[in-house]
Symmetry: C3
Subunit: 278 residues, 3 copies
Amino acid sequence: MEGSTAPEEFRASIAGAIVTNSLFMLGASFLLGGLKHHAQEFNKAGTRLQGGLLFLATVALMVPSAIAQADRAPGVAFTQTLSAGLAVLLIVAYGLGMLFSLKTHRELFASAEHGAEGEAPWPIGLALATLAGVTVLVALVSEIFVESVQHAAAAFGMTPAFVGFIVVALVGGAAEMASAFSGARKDRLDLSVGIALGSASQIALFVAPVLVLLSYVIGPTPMDLQLWPGAVVMMLIATLTAALVTNSGRSAWFVGVLVLMVYLVFAMTLYLLPPRVQ
Amino acid sequence: MEGSTAPEEFRASIAGAIVTNSLFMLGASFLLGGLKHHAQEFNKAGTRLQGGLLFLATVALMVPSAIAQADRAPGVAFTQTLSAGLAVLLIVAYGLGMLFSLKTHRELFASAEHGAEGEAPWPIGLALATLAGVTVLVALVSEIFVESVQHAAAAFGMTPAFVGFIVVALVGGAAEMASAFSGARKDRLDLSVGIALGSASQIALFVAPVLVLLSYVIGPTPMDLQLWPGAVVMMLIATLTAALVTNSGRSAWFVGVLVLMVYLVFAMTLYLLPPRVQ
Amino acid sequence: MEGSTAPEEFRASIAGAIVTNSLFMLGASFLLGGLKHHAQEFNKAGTRLQGGLLFLATVALMVPSAIAQADRAPGVAFTQTLSAGLAVLLIVAYGLGMLFSLKTHRELFASAEHGAEGEAPWPIGLALATLAGVTVLVALVSEIFVESVQHAAAAFGMTPAFVGFIVVALVGGAAEMASAFSGARKDRLDLSVGIALGSASQIALFVAPVLVLLSYVIGPTPMDLQLWPGAVVMMLIATLTAALVTNSGRSAWFVGVLVLMVYLVFAMTLYLLPPRVQ
């Protein structure tokens, strides 16, 4: 029982984290920064890369769900093979994106890297091993975390969709949000946008694919990337909105309001959605 | 009978007005201006705000329809509560947009305000009361108007979908179109774009939400924001097209042709659509 | 039997050529150019026109399929009349686009025309007659071509959807791809983007509509523009991706990787898709 519903909740919390990071974290950064500073500018090259990666990831994550939706029953084997293939593609894209931003075109990302100027670089082997280890750890911890939040929220009468998409993502991203908001207040919007889009695309391009591939090794059943249609629509609108508002490289408080409003529309819908419908 | 179909026709004419203003009014302004002037420029900050508001409104108006479509029967109570919540959100966004463009960042909208430079500002209380009064009046008048146009057009063999979406919107927006086209001919494209996107977002962010909220007080049955899927797709494409073409802040006659073509595709589809299908 | 399935395959290969040209040809040009040159710039006005035309064409091609999908059975007569009307609209838009880029605003496209500077202009009558003749020829040849590729690929166990969308489009566009890639290596990205988007929009705005109209004269049954939902989604994402990445007028190798990844996602999906599902 436990084992069979876990993948469902994982996928909801992955989609929720992408939506929350690219709408709430970004919008609140714009709003908080804009309330203090009349107008703010940020580095365009870095945000375009993040926006492009995020859009690609959303397209890849959408495909299995779109096909399952359009054709009713394409078969479980098909969805799982496709998900594994897409997972490999996404990890390759993530790796090439790192190569681009840290090696071949690092001068474009100068300002975004600024925050880490005091740190010595890690050896690549250690960095990759740590990254893999942390991902597995996060996956295991978040299973326990999601479950306990789910129980607590059910006691308040919240729907599972609202909890998985909104509450878990907000609580789980609290630390990153604190950094993003503090950057925005200090007129370092580069940092805020980088954290918001960076963490969204890291989940989509690294955490989700690694979980899919790991589920073949350690999970009770292989996990696929099939989401319910509403989640796909929200991810698409969230990443499109993030790409549109970061495209100009400038911001004022009202841009933050607009982005937060889109998030509120989603949160309100999920809050009101009757449980059986999700 | 009359009372029960009215909300349906209202919603169709709201969606039609948004599509007609953001495609036909904008496209014809670009074309008419472009036939006289080789290339035209317009203020970007103002159109970006309007474009952003319009996109937000489309997302909000889409959500109830998308959920109803995806999940077949989510229940009438759910759709109505959600519509009322979204209506409040849209009105708040509209108010904050006014605060942004008229108070905190008015310097960004200098050129677009130009046309009203001679007018003395109204006291805020009077302005709001007038706005509310005019909206109710327009709603009542347009019920009679829509009905009489519907009868006339049916005599010509036009489908109800074509009448509600295209004919009513074109006739109802005639006065604004005259202003927009005259601005375009005088190389004041700021004004034309402002009128086209401004009236589209005013309908989406103020008229539609106010009608939803008023329907709880004065209507026979509460009105919700649920539209047929084709209307949602048209609104989404219309606002996306408007956002894309206004984004560069420059125009030539062919941009107008492209936008008008998208409108013609919709008009032709609605004209040919057999009545029972809508 | 043969005659009744041909329109289906035609439509698949038209959609496949649009997707392949706007993703694979464009992405590979960016990647190949970017591996040789650190950063590349290209003419924005020309690509914006192509991007705009392509988006319009995708919207027009989508409408019959979207309505058929949303409303289940709108009737064959409706779909055929609508397809014929849309075909006329698209050809008019194509003609006006030529007028714009070759006559009234040719100075905007100076750089993109560069490659043809040595050629003397053809008389308009001869040019049009040649264009019409070549189109009919291509249609007849590609029927034979598609069929033989289909047989060969079936022997390798490839699904018909993969063959129609990917294999036929890659083989059929080989000559244009060679030009586009060679332009990219010579830092003439204008040329590459022009060929990729130009050939995609030529298929959508000229070849497909002419085939629809010709099918009334020479075909066994009139051909319409109705595609399966997955093809519509892919066309929409492909043209949106092409519009987004060409919008900035600058490129580096990783932009090519992103575009190619989207194409790989589609190719992988079509390769794995069980035959009966398409």
